[in-house]
Symmetry: C2
Subunit: 708 residues, 2 copies
């Protein structure tokens, strides 16, 4: 370890290690002071945001490029793309300055970014040249864009998800081949049993006579999209044929699809567990680095309270003194004034536990107008608002309001009732602000207070604007009315919070919610790639005409091949690949799976494209989604607080006994890493094992660690 000699530099470096451990950053940076300074800049949140802004702009270019939703000239989009590419290159150069050269070049994600930037530039040049010379050109590099999301330093969780998928792939593939074998065997049987019976489909086409068509139809049946239509001709001919389809559905639709879920779930969990193990190991290693920078004493090295305080202030400048004092008390059980390595290593996890410190402050009105606020009437009001009946009363009001919303809003009684309800809601908020201390009321963890206030204030504003526009009769905006309606309905959600049993589920969902962002990115990457390929292959094949268009081509979506097909008859013309928004909506429909065989054209290349999409998105990714929800929900619902949180709470209780200063609510981990770590720490000896490993790796002195 090439450590700095300066004492201040030593603290700076230790703070960086702790901060990295806290946020699970895993970058092996150069430990020299200038590099550390560059590294701190590299990790600034503004730069992270900027990276994502540039990626979003780069991805959003698809809206303006051919086939475009809003066409822009090629030079404009190319210019924007060029700026984005330069930004990525600068970011990468910055990273190269921070990290030792050897490590930089060995890291596949850096290589990936370099390759992507190069290929994008190349494609731009080729495309420009071909266009200028009037040739046909394809912007093939567009499929590479979402890969940036995976390969930037910030995309750690996304990379982890992809790694898990890659590792699970062999087992999924084996199962898939077995499943396809079953489909092929069933198809052969269907051909032999029904092919010679001269049956007809509802469209009058021959039924089950072509082997490949049967395979495709039965594959679609696995997704249930053509049930029961595919069965009806055979079933109408003889009830015995229903047996064939029942067997097929039980084996392929139910059993195989469940086994897919089992394999995906199992593998995903297994590899994620291994990843988390490495994550925890890396975290401890960094904390050990920090410890070795600050340690004092010979036989059993320790860190003193003063050093520890200085370090924590460097890592988290906005931490309150009370909070810091609490964390120290948890670390130093025995009040020795210094802590050993084991207690020090906990610091990263301790900093990750949200402790909301709230002083029981007096109400501002109590300070300003004590005479009035302390009067009997005022006290009565406060008692009323705090009473349970107040909650029930407003729940009843919401239910009555729901009925009024359902009625026709053009009725004058209903529209004046709306003002009445709005007044009641505003009154509720004012009463609550009168009773409760405003800063407590709007504390970060009071989700429903925030929700209520935002909804009511926006509804008030929108209703006023709408009424103003209506009374001056100059302009009636449908959009504002829509917003008013949405806000009115959203208000009703509040009633959920009053029911204890609903609240538990909702809270779990709210907690899982942000963690699904990673999943959203995963879907975005896959959708984007499929959308780009789909647009190149199928753009313009299907045209959408608005309802009042006089064009006769409206009947068959502007494609003569679609005449009299179910696609045209069901009015699916807007399900096309003509721009990126339509493509995304279409891909969502394909994810939902129903009617997908009707949505696709009967062209063979379309079938291959869609089957591929089905395998990737429905069989693999949606199963991972289900696996994720399954695991996260079970964990959140079942798992108790972990050791660290328990000891923190105990300490808070102790302090409350003597100090009565802190009211705290442990909001639990709120990051993906935190949840993951929690998922796999519980019930296992993971942390003990990891610390033992780390100790061995680094030749430290006290391997006899046992978690409290």
């Amino acid at each position: 370890l090439r450590g700095p000699e300066l004492d201040g530099g030593r603290f700076d470096l230790a703070a960086v290690y702790v901060s990295d451990a806290q946020h699970n950053r895993n970058i092996t940076f150069d430990a020299s002071p200038p590099s550390v300074r560059l590294y701190l800049i590299y990790n600034h949140w503004m730069l992270h945001v900027l990276v994502y802004v540039f990626i979003l702009v780069d991805l959003a270019l698809a809206l303006f490029e051919e086939p475009a939703l809003i066409p822009l000239p090629v030079w404009a989009t190319s210019m924007i793309e060029l700026i984005c590419l330069v930004a990525f290159a600068v970011r990468l150069a910055h990273f190269a300055k921070v990290v030792p050269r050897r490590i930089f070049l060995r890291d596949p994600k850096n290589i990936c970014i370099i390759v992507i930037i190069t290929l994008c530039l190349l494609d731009m040049i080729i495309y420009g040249a071909l266009k200028v010379s009037g040739n046909y050109a394809v912007r093939w590099s567009r499929v590479l864009r979402p890969l940036l999301l995976v390969n930037v330093t910030e995309g750690r969780q996304l990379r982890r998800a992809f790694r898990s998928i890659r590792n699970a792939l062999p087992q999924i593939l084996v199962l898939f081949f077995l499943f396809m074998f079953s489909v092929l065997i069933f198809s052969l049987m269907a051909l032999k049993l029904m092919g010679k019976r001269n049956l007809e489909t509802i469209e009058g086409a021959p039924y089950f006579t072509n082997y490949l068509d049967i395979v495709f139809d039965l594959y679609v049946l696995v997704t249930t999209a053509n049930s029961p239509d595919i069965m009806m001709p055979a079933y109408n001919y003889s009830s015995f044929f229903a047996l064939f389809f029942i067997l097929y559905i039980v084996i392929n639709t139910y059993t195989f699809m469940s086994v897919f879920l089992a394999v995906v779930y199992n593998n995903y969990k297994k590899y994620l567990k291994e990843e988390v193990r490495q994550l925890v190991r890396a975290k401890r290693q960094k904390m050990c680095h920090a410890f070795s920078l600050l340690k004092e004493g010979g036989e059993e090295p320790v860190v003193s309270k003063a050093h520890w305080n200085r370090l924590v202030r460097l890592v988290q400048p906005d931490i309150t003194n009370a909070h810091r004092e609490l964390l120290w008390n948890v670390s130093d059980h025995h009040n020795r004034g210094h802590i050993g390595k084991v207690a020090f290593v906990q610091l990263a996890d301790l900093l990750n536990i949200q402790v909301i410190t709230l002083k029981s402050r007096a109400h501002p009105l109590h300070t300003w107008i004590p005479a009035i606020y302390e009067s009997a009437v005022s006290k009565l009001i406060c008692r009323m608002v705090r009473h349970r009946m107040f909650v029930y009363l407003y729940d009843a009001i919401i239910l009555v309001n729901a009925v009024f919303i359902g009625l026709d809003e053009e009725d004058p009684v209903v529209s004046s009732a709306e003002w009445f309800f709005l007044t009641l809601y505003v009154l509720e908020i004012l009463l609550k602000l009168y009773t409760f201390e405003p800063r407590t009321f709007f504390a970060r963890h009071h989700f429903w207070n925030w929700f209520d206030t935002i909804i009511i204030v926006s509804a008030l504003l929108a209703t006023v604007i709408n009424a103003a526009l209506k009374s001056c009769k100059c302009y009636t905006s449908r959009q504002i009315l829509d917003i008013v309606f949405i806000l009115r309905v959203l208000r009703l959600i509040r009633v959920v919070d009053s029911i204890q049993r609903f609240r538990a589920i909702i809270n779990t969902l709210i907690k899982i919610g942000p963690l699904m962002l990673t999943f959203g990115q995963l879907i975005l990457v896959v959708y984007y790639i499929f959308a780009m390929v789909g647009m190149e292959l199928f753009k313009g094949k299907v045209q959408f005409f608005s309802a009042d268009s006089p064009d006769p081509a409206r009947e068959y979506c502007g494609n003569a091949l679609l005449k009299d097909t179910l696609f045209a008859r069901n009015n699916y013309c807007k399900n096309n690949f003509n721009d990126v928004v339509s493509s995304f909506v279409l891909l969502l429909e394909l994810t939902v799976v129903n009617q997908w065989h009707d949505i696709l054209l009967t062209h063979v290349s379309a079938r291959i494209f869609f089957v591929l999409f089905h395998i990737v998105v429905v069989i693999i990714i949606m199963n991972i989604f289900v696996a994720f929800i399954l695991e996260a929900f079970i964990i959140e619902y079942i798992v108790e607080k972990n050791d660290l949180q328990t000891s923190l709470e105990k300490k808070i209780e102790e302090l409350n006994l003597c100090v009565d200063l802190l009211f705290s609510s442990l909001a639990g981990y709120s990051t993906m890493d935190g949840l993951l770590q929690r998922m796999f720490e519980t019930g296992t000896d993971l942390s003990a094992e990891v610390i033992a490993d780390t100790s061995e790796d680094m030749n430290f002195s006290n391997p006899s660690f046992s978690p409290a």
Copy 2:
């Protein structure tokens, strides 16, 4: 314990306890010798089979009763039902003789059977009286019939499944209400946003104007059955409305449905675990009873080898001496000649492990014609058959055969090729029988040998019959040809066994297979009840006319209300409740969910019926199915053999070293109870805990049990 004084009686009673423990029977029978004898008769397998035969006959009556598939006069079906009811009553009376009266009357399942029999009789009388007097009558007691399946003594596993569902119900209901709340809120928003825009569905009906219709449509969207049709009018009007549907699908279709799975999975597992805990406890208790009957010695009671042998022979008369000796060796590690309570208690589990003992016998031909069988040519043949290339060769033949099956079988080349392939397959079996010892070849656990031989022999027979019929030109049976085709295709499945990675999955599926019988019964009970109710409500509403019927009502399924509906246009007329077979097929289609909104008539009572069916079958039961597969597959795939199996295998290895007599394959547990026990024993201290409990309960002397 009122134990018998006679020594023989003591052994009989102990054998009954062990047998009960082995088969997880949980009946508190009277311990007096006459009762024990009656109890043994009660548990005879023939009576179990008879009970199920009577239940099946009783259930099958639905085929012959109005609305009937094959109509029989009312007096005939009533007579059969009467016989069945008498049989159930006799069985119950037998049970009452076996069990102490106090316990008999406290058991809800006996009360249930009494009530069901009484109500069925009552219904028969009322129905008869009403029919004779020419009134309208309903056979309402038919919905009670499947409940017999649950309440007979043999339906232990089914009762357990229902109990698990009942226990999970409160949580599922809370979640369901929350989910319905979400659907209602979204519906209200849809009404407000799209109701006033004068949009039209593809049929020209007003779009999203009636609140209850919207709720129903959006409920159907959760099942994905009407995607994307329900979205198209709004999406065609403005792309922004796609956002509404995307949000709806993400929240309700994906998140809520996954959370349903999570809650069902979690609860099912939790309660099943508790049930298994009780099961194991009851088993140990019975073994302790048996032990206390046979124990000798004072301070630390033991059972001698002679007594143990006598007991095992009583429990399992067909056990081989070698197998019994092996089990004794496992129980008595230290060769003391007697075993303590802990080792004795294991006996029930030991007996449940399938040990297939196979003497390495000489081939019969070797005994009969040693000169020829030992000749160089014969040895060469044997070496060839044992060679890996032989397997590969036949795999190649199967693949070529697959191509020929796909071709038109009326081509003379193809049909003669069929004879060629058949000869090859027969030759394969003959060669294998020549090489391997026939009894080894047809051992019970050689699934694929059995499969091959049965398929090939049947194919040979069917092909010969078919050819004979064809050559005499007197009669061409389509049915025989169908069977020939099915057998031909089934032959191809064999190729799966050659691929190592496929075999692991297939073996797991084959193992789980029989365990799904309980699940099949669960489905049968629910389907039967819904079918009975559906038939009373909807019989005759939809008529099916065969394709060559000249009746004009064929166009609209004989119901004028269905004119020009999607139902009639899609030719769904055979999806009706006119007989019990059609009802079951229809219910299966509703389970698959697709198109179910088109299948049902637009009548409100039908909607309620189908939504109820969806909640019960799709949300609860199918999720349990998925949960079951998930758990079973993960366990089978991951979990190693348990302690008992390992120690048994070790012992076998030891014995092999000196005796070289046994070749054994541990086929694992093959009962539902076994798998369940294995599911929850692994990784927990269940067995240790349970034996500690039992010891305390029964005041035995050695609670210091530790599993090997």
